[in-house]
Symmetry: C2
Subunit: 218 residues, 2 copies
């Protein structure tokens, strides 16, 4: 007898992408694409019903995003391993997703071969990152020494993300302090830490950084 079939579901808000993804498994006897969802909530329901071994999820989705969705999947349905799909080869997204419990990270321009490799690797309980992402990780590692510690160092906390949003929204430090009932110094400190993590020399750079990294929408 052969190996048991691996069941796959996909969460992505792009209908065309879902259609294309589905077709990857047409000629794969050991793998069955069993369901799809256009957003996080729907994805959770699909998983509860179909009990797939592998879940692919986009990071950017309307409603609950991929990071939050992944956290819930790992918590509620630990049998399902998550592989992240992203348009962006971005260290922050990568970090957020790994932190949420994803076992793999693929860019949306991944080839069929990479998708299949990722499935088998993650199903065998190893991690998988696509080529571009591995290069990104190497780049970060060589840029400043020690491995994944670096990625963790630049991950933003919830409060930091909140303050990034307010800064980008045009609020001054004082405005933010008043709004959040904090001392100006506290907000100063948060901003200081944010700027270091983003390697931004000034507010203008921080704003473009935040927009490029999906932390603020224009």
């Amino acid at each position: 007898m052969g190996k048991p079939t691996i069941h796959i579901v996909l969460g992505d808000d792009h209908e065309i992408f879902r259609n294309g993804f589905k077709t990857l498994f047409d000629d794969q006897p050991g793998i069955r694409f069993v369901g799809e969802a256009a957003n996080g909530d729907e994805l959770l329901r699909v998983i509860a019903k179909l009990k797939p071994e592998i879940v692919f999820t986009d990071i950017k989705m309307p409603g609950m995003n991929g990071v939050e969705t992944t956290r819930l999947i790992r918590k509620r349905y630990p049998f399902a391993e998550v592989i992240a799909l992203s348009t962006f080869n971005d260290a922050h997204f990568l970090m957020d997703m790994l932190d949420a419990g994803a076992k793999g990270y693929l860019l949306k321009d991944a080839s069929k071969r990479e998708v299949l490799e990722a499935i088998h690797a993650v199903h065998a309980q190893t991690h998988y990152y696509c080529k571009a992402t591995r290069e990104k990780m190497t780049e970060l590692r060589t840029a400043s020494g020690d491995s994944l510690a670096e990625l963790k160092r630049i991950a933003f906390s919830g409060r930091e993300k909140e303050i990034i949003g307010l800064i980008c929204g045009g609020m001054s430090t004082m405005d933010i302090a008043k709004k959040l009932f904090l001392s100006k110094r506290t907000v100063d400190g948060h901003r200081d830490r944010i700027m270091r993590k983003a390697s931004a020399p000034n507010i203008a750079s921080l704003v473009t950084f935040a927009i490029r990294h999906g932390l603020f929408e224009v």
Copy 2:
């Protein structure tokens, strides 16, 4: 006799997306998907060979981007009408694409229905924009297009636009002064006038203003 078949080609660097796009026409007798390309140069060659009536192209592609590609398509192969595909509902991309000669603009999360509507509209020599893009256009119109006086009041001079770009790019006043061989006070003055025109209380607001008004690209 029926209508002649419409031939479609697609330029997009995402294999999975191309696969999904292809399947949209499986049950469409009047439309034939005849070719695909992963970048701009390849797309031009495919068009030269297959002479499609409709070309879909992604905006962001490695090598020659969609805007430049579209310009060349319209110049060399005027029989081919171009419909832009984009992940981003961005006024700036939209303007660039229309300027380059695209007759339609679709987001990548478009439904099958929208894709088919776009094809028929553009093939009938009308323009087509997906719902989200139409909303974006209305929003921009009401946001900045009310009174002519208003527009003139906030119209930026060439130098001002140049400095806006440099500020958004993360340069400090001093950086800009050195780069342009000006006194810091001159740049201060320019920035002052810019901020008043934009009604921006601080740099963060100016950056988002500039991005929203197409004065800076992220």
